[in-house]
């Protein structure tokens, strides 16, 4: 791909005003390796305040629809942690379809089946008790997928039957207590039963696996590679000293362009320091960049004290 003035102009616009970043983007283009430069957006969440008696511990923001791995952007139509490329590659063994997170058995996700290696013919032997179809710890993202007709109720996360099959506890969202919710561990290539792996730095680059998981840098890639420097999420947390509210800003989220939907999921982990028990708050949003035409999406924190449910809240933008 040749750099033209038009490109440069578009890139300057896309890079949300960051000159330095624009220069880097150009450098990458010159190598001619990138088939398509993903657009990046920012999220800015205001008025975040932990629940009374709790402390803020972690935040994970993810675009479940797209990402960058091995220097190349990828799409995940099922939004389930498996890229279209991988899913198509292993489809003959597992019978996966691209358009959703579940295929043959609606109660077990393709991600779980892929990692466990349960071949298509064996999937009929996966059973789930009727009492285990939902999520006791409410750590699941549940939404209507309107890309198919009629719209389909879709679960992103580990339902209780999956957790119990995997030896995890349905009443907990973080079995090994490393502060990464079990489902995100699977998506990041970590073991939800191993409490040590979050702190490791597999590639020896000084960034530990938790930071990488959070920033969507594949844990087996160096954080110093050019594409990971360019497309790793960046978190910035500020505290308003007067109200004690926080503003959490996440920049550099790669998204599918134009009229394509992106499912953005937000997980916040809080801890009660007295009991060391952790709590999870989740929200999601469907963002179609062209329809809104924004690069920065601003919203107020969803789990205020007068809101009944703090999990699985849909966030909408004006």
């Amino acid at each position: 791909m040749k750099t033209t003035w038009k490109h440069t102009f578009a890139l300057v616009l896309l890079a949300s005003g960051c000159i330095q970043q624009t220069e880097r983007t150009l450098e990458e283009l010159d190598q001619g390796e990138q088939p398509e430069i993903p657009k990046v957006i920012s999220l800015r969440m205001s008025k975040y305040r932990p629940q009374p008696g709790r402390q803020f511990k972690e935040i994970f923001v993810s675009n479940f629809s797209a990402g960058v791995a091995r220097g190349l952007p990828f799409e995940s139509e099922g939004r389930d942690g498996l890229s279209n490329e991988l899913k198509s590659k292993v489809a003959p063994l597992y019978g996966f379809a691209l358009d959703g997170p579940h295929t043959a058995n609606p109660l077990f996700s393709d991600l779980m089946i892929y990692l466990s290696g349960i071949r298509y013919a064996q999937q009929t032997f996966l059973h789930c008790s009727s009492s285990l179809v939902e999520s006791a710890s409410k750590d699941i993202i549940k939404y209507m997928d309107n890309r198919v007709q009629p719209p389909r109720l879709t679960y992103l996360g580990l339902r209780d039957c999956e957790k119990s099959y995997l030896g995890l506890r349905p009443d907990q969202f973080d079995f090994d207590k490393d502060l990464i919710p079990d489902y995100l561990e699977l998506r990041c290539g970590l073991n939800p039963r191993n409490g040590s792996d979050a702190a490791l730095s597999l590639t020896g680059d000084g960034l530990n696996n938790l930071e990488k998981c959070k920033r969507h840098i594949p844990i087996d890639e160096s954080g110093n590679s050019q594409s990971n420097k360019l497309y790793g999420y960046r978190y910035k947390i500020e505290v308003d000293v007067n109200s004690n509210d926080r503003v959490i800003r996440v920049d550099n989220i790669p998204v599918l362009k134009n009229d394509r939907q992106n499912l953005i999921a937000i997980y916040i982990v809080e801890i009660d320091p007295a009991t060391t028990r952790t709590y999870l708050m989740t929200a999601w949003s469907l963002i179609t960049p062209k329809a809104i035409g924004l690069n920065a999406y601003e919203f107020d924190y969803w789990a205020t004290q007068n809101v009944a449910t703090h999990q699985n809240q849909e966030v909408q933008f004006p």
Binding site: S129, L132, L166, L200, S201, N224
Partner: protein, 559 residues
């Protein structure tokens, strides 16, 4: 501000006084202020180490599926007697055992042998009480033996092969049956826990509970029905908790209680509800088999699986260059972890990792006793015999040199592990994914229950884990090191490989070496991606030849 003004006013008169003061202060502080700054006393060179490898394919993550059949032998299976004691049972449900045993034989015969999903079988019967049938002991792996020695005789009962008549009598004690299932699984798990396997194999216990009616048991002269909350649910919760037991949790991947209800005319709603509740709380499935239908055991079978392996961590070590306790980088010819200079002072042999030949290397003896050998001359005659390790079956080499097995791959032998309080069969006793020997040599806690790799005792913004990764000696602040070059690590995933395995190229630049012949060791740690948490270690060593710039480990080296 005020005190300072006051200070100036009163004392600024005399410069001599201040001078005297500062001298005094310096004199007091001086011994404490000496910086712990080390220039490497040896002439280090730096090389690159490259390791190319792939993760293991899925077959390594094997599982054992252990089927425990629990069969109803209550009297209602048999014809003829309308039994007032079991009013809920519909009579004559399975007089010749064809519904219970026929499909079981077919199911077991139909299992296709799969080396990654090994199957085992056991059988429990219950009527008024629960019991283990003749010839049944724990779990059996051989399907033919299980069928011929246990299932068929139990099926035939008091009849003949042509006309089987299972011994069906009495009541329907669910609670007793579940308690016996619990005992059977516990004692099997105990045995399994004693036999660690490498590569790791996890066990899935799969109970198939088969009955024809509600749980009625005699009580005094009358009859009572066991209830879910009263008698049944507590036992199920004990069954489900086995896998959370610290002793078993690494070997048991799951316990599932499946329930099957076979009836003849109309199903009993109370039995249906109860069996459904049991399967729900037991993480299993409930199925019904109406008039004459055999129990379809294959519907309960868990799916065969082949778990993906993930790369968990990589370590690279030059076994002949030691970051000693005082922060200095020293040569260690015999790679026992005790540097040559220290060995020379202590009187042990610089060229023999176990100078007195008692099977416990010089560093282990030094760390546990303060001396590498019992006597100053490190003589064989005067050495510590380490009789406590006799149980580990030592062998004796030339010069009466004792050798112990290395059950774990990390480099410490069984006796050394025992003496240090580490786990013999586990390369990483505290689960921090730093292999025990590597942690031990570098003075990082490695015994189960201890941790310390993420601490930063020198306050130099670098934890022990990172120092080890970057090749720093961990016993000194990295800021006080003079002239030492840390490693530059990088991991590259190789493109266009199979979807199931990941292939990598790890390179550590600037690995410190001293002399030709230095042994570079690569530790590769993999873990299952899901279900089980049992990391496995592979180690490979190569010598560096003086003059070479790179030591390369090829994929084949890791097989």
């Amino acid at each position: 501000m005020k005190p300072i003004t006051f200070f100036k006013k009163s004392i600024s008169l005399s410069a001599t006084v201040i001078f005297g003061f500062s001298l005094l202060l310096n004199a007091c502080r001086k011994p404490n202020l000496e910086p712990l700054s080390r220039v490497s006393p040896v002439n280090l060179q730096y090389i690159d180490v490259v390791a190319k490898f792939c993760t293991d394919d899925r077959s390594v993550a094997r599982q054992k599926v252990k089927y425990l059949f629990v069969l109803d032998h209550s009297r209602s299976n048999q014809p003829g007697i309308p039994d007032p004691a079991t009013p809920n049972d519909v009579n004559n449900t399975d007089p010749d055992g064809a519904r219970r045993y026929g499909p079981m034989v077919a199911f077991i015969n139909g299992l296709i042998p799969d080396p990654n999903n090994l199957t085992y079988f056991s059988l429990i019967n219950f009527d008024t009480t629960a019991y283990v049938p003749r010839n049944m002991n724990g779990f059996m792996q051989d399907p033919d033996a299980f069928l011929n020695q246990v299932v068929r005789p139990d099926w035939i009962g008091s009849g003949t092969a042509a006309l089987p008549a299972p011994n069906d009598r009495g009541f329907t004690n669910y609670q007793g049956a579940l308690e016996l299932a619990l005992t059977t699984i516990r004692s099997d798990a105990q045995l399994e826990a004693l036999l660690p396997s490498d590569p790791p194999v996890t066990i899935q216990y799969h109970i198939i509970f088969v009955t024809d009616g509600a749980p009625t048991v005699p009580s005094g002269t009358g009859v009572v029905t066991q209830t879910f909350l009263g008698e049944i649910s507590p036992v199920i919760s004990n069954l489900m908790n086995i896998k959370n037991d610290p002793i078993y949790k690494n070997i048991i991947s799951g316990v599932a209680l499946n329930t099957a209800y076979y009836f003849q005319t109309a199903p009993d709603a109370a039995a249906q509800t109860l069996l459904q509740q049991m399967a729900d709380s037991g993480g299993g499935q409930y199925l019904e088999f109406a008039a004459g239908q055999g129990v379809l055991y294959q519907s309960f079978a868990p799916p065969a699986r082949n778990i993906k392996m993930n790369l968990a961590d990589i370590w690279i070590e030059n076994q002949n260059v030691i970051g000693w306790e005082d922060g200095r980088i020293l040569a260690d010819f015999d790679a026992d972890g005790l540097p040559d200079e220290i060995e020379a002072k202590l009187g042990s042999n610089v060229t023999d990792s176990d100078s007195d030949g008692n099977g416990v290397n010089d560093l282990v003896e030094y760390r546990t006793k303060g001396v590498p050998c019992k006597d100053a001359a490190c003589s064989v005659a005067e050495r510590d015999p380490y009789a406590i390790c006799d149980g580990f079956a030592p062998t004796f080499g030339a010069n009466n040199k004792v050798q112990f097995r290395r059950s774990s791959q990390d480099g410490l032998n069984d006796c050394e592990k025992f003496v240090l309080g580490a786990e013999r069969n586990n390369f990483d006793s505290n689960g921090d994914l730093i292999p025990d020997r590597l942690a031990f040599v570098n003075n990082i806690p490695f015994i189960a229950g201890t941790s310390g790799s993420y601490l930063d005792p020198y306050g130099d913004s670098m934890n022990q884990y990172t120092k080890l990764k970057l090749g720093y000696p961990v016993g000194i602040s990295q800021r006080s090191l003079v002239g030492f070059i840390p490693r530059e690590n990088s991991l590259l995933r190789e493109k266009d490989e199979q979807a199931d395995i990941d292939c990598y190229r790890y390179s550590a630049k600037k690995v410190a070496v001293l002399r030709g012949g230095d042994v570079i060791r690569v530790y590769l740690i993999q873990n299952q991606s899901i279900i089980s948490n049992k990391p496995v270690l592979k180690t490979v060593s190569k010598s560096w030849r003086a003059g070479e710039f790179t030591v390369t480990f090829e994929r084949g080296d890791f097989n």
